[in-house]
Each structure stands twice: as C-alpha cells, then as structure tokens.
C-alpha cells in the first residue's frame, strides 16, 4: 500500500521555536509538496520540489524553508514559529511527467503555536 507519512500528527510549540515537519513517501515520486490548510482558505501551497536538492516557492513561502536531501524525504522548517503559523500542514507527492498530477497526501500535522 503506497504511503506518504508525516512524522507528527499533533505538535504544540512556543513562539520563536524552530519547528521541523518531516514527510517521507515510499512511491519513488519525483514531486513533493507542502500545503497548509486553514478554515475558509482551503489548501495553500507553501513550497514544492520536483527533484532532490531542488525547491521552489509556492504561494505563501514567507516564514518557511524546506529541505530535500533524499528523494523520499521532504522537510518543512519553521525557523521561528509564530502564532499565525498555527495550522494543519499537509505533505503530498506525485509522479513526474504526464498530465495526471494526482497527489497522494499524508494524514497531516496539526501544529499549534502558543
């Protein structure tokens, strides 16, 4: 069964802390994505990566960075967490090429910043 695994389902952090959200996929997918989901705003793209060591900004990259050292792993980093980063974070992957783009999502990481 193919899978995208996010390391933590629930996290509570304090303002100013550095936060790491880890995502691993076992489908050998080239593309990986980080979204955040907030009520009334839907899913918004933070960062994405089409290949190892490659990253591109999405629509809301401010306050975030990412790392992709291995094909299967894509990490989202909050350098200094703020309360407005309280959200549900969703990692997804997809196969490169073609006109499909079907995304496989993880279960999400619900982050609360106090």
């Amino acid at each position: 069964d193919v899978k995208v695994t996010q390391s933590s389902r629930y996290l509570v952090k304090r303002t100013g802390e550095k936060v790491f959200l880890e995502c691993v996929q076992d489908m050998d997918h080239e593309n990986m994505f980080w979204y955040r989901q907030d009520p009334g705003l839907g899913l918004r793209l933070i960062y994405f990566s089409y290949d190892v060591k490659m990253k591109e900004k999405g629509d809301i990259p401010e306050g975030y960075s990412v790392s992709r050292e291995k094909k299967e792993r894509f990490s989202l980093i909050l350098e200094s967490a703020s309360t407005n980063q309280t959200s549900m974070y969703l990692c997804a992957s997809s196969k490169a090429g073609g006109n499909t783009g079907e995304l496989f999502f993880g279960e999400g990481s619900r982050l609360t910043v106090l």
Binding site: V4, N31, F33, Y35, G40, L41, G42, L43, L45, F48, Y50, G58, L90, A92, S94, A96, G98, N99, T100, G101, E102, L103, F104, F105, G106, E107, G108, R110
Partner: protein, 115 residues
C-alpha cells in the same frame, strides 16, 4: 491569477438521492481538473481526474463533467449513502498552456447525506 470557487455552504441531501457539487474557475482552462475527498482530520484522497478535452468521466457512482465554456466542473454522486458524507475538494493544475503538476485547490464543499 487562477481562482477556484466552490459552494462554501454545506449540502444536505437524503440517502439515495444524487448529490451535485459545483466547481467554478475564473481564468484560463487548466490541462486537467481533479476532485478529492477529505474526511475530518485526514488528508485529501484523490477521486477522479478529467482532462480539458474530456466532457465527462465516470467511476462507479461518481461522475464528473467539465465545461470549459462555462469554466465549470460538476461532481455527481448517485445513490448517495451516509458514508459519502465528507468535504469534497476541486483542484486545478496551475499551469497555463500545459500541466505543471502544481495544484490550486478550492475551499471544498461539505456534503452531509442523511439516512
């Protein structure tokens, strides 16, 4: 920039009826359009994809239509069941003139099927 509109109000229907959800987009027609299902506290799950040159796609009790003139997709669930209750998300490829595999999502419509 491309925007997607889904009815933010919940859709309540009786079991056995057909549920119809709407997705409208505002700008260029995407290479493809997708529908996802999301249960509370879970990640979205892919349901169906329809390409810009396709009018209709079916999968079991699901049917999706794509009208590039109206800039609209309709998502139908026939013979609906309480287990179909969930939020349904519409997503488009962000690319103009070709697929980029980056998706923009609507805010979703909550479907509640009453027994």
């Amino acid at each position: 920039s491309q925007k997607i509109e889904q009815n933010s109000e919940a859709l309540n229907i009786q079991e056995g009826k057909t549920a119809t959800l709407t997705c409208n987009y505002t700008n260029y027609s995407p290479a493809y359009l997708q529908w996802y299902r999301q249960d509370p506290g879970r990640g979205p799950v892919f349901l169906l994809l329809i390409r810009e040159n396709e009018k209709e796609k079916r999968k079991e009790r699901l049917k999706v239509t794509f009208d590039t003139t109206l800039k609209q997709s309709l998502f139908h669930i026939t013979a609906s069941q309480p287990a179909d209750s969930a939020t349904y998300l519409c997503a488009l490829d962000m690319g103009y003139g070709g697929a980029t595999n980056k998706l923009i999502f609507g805010t979703g419509t909550l479907l509640a099927v009453q027994p």
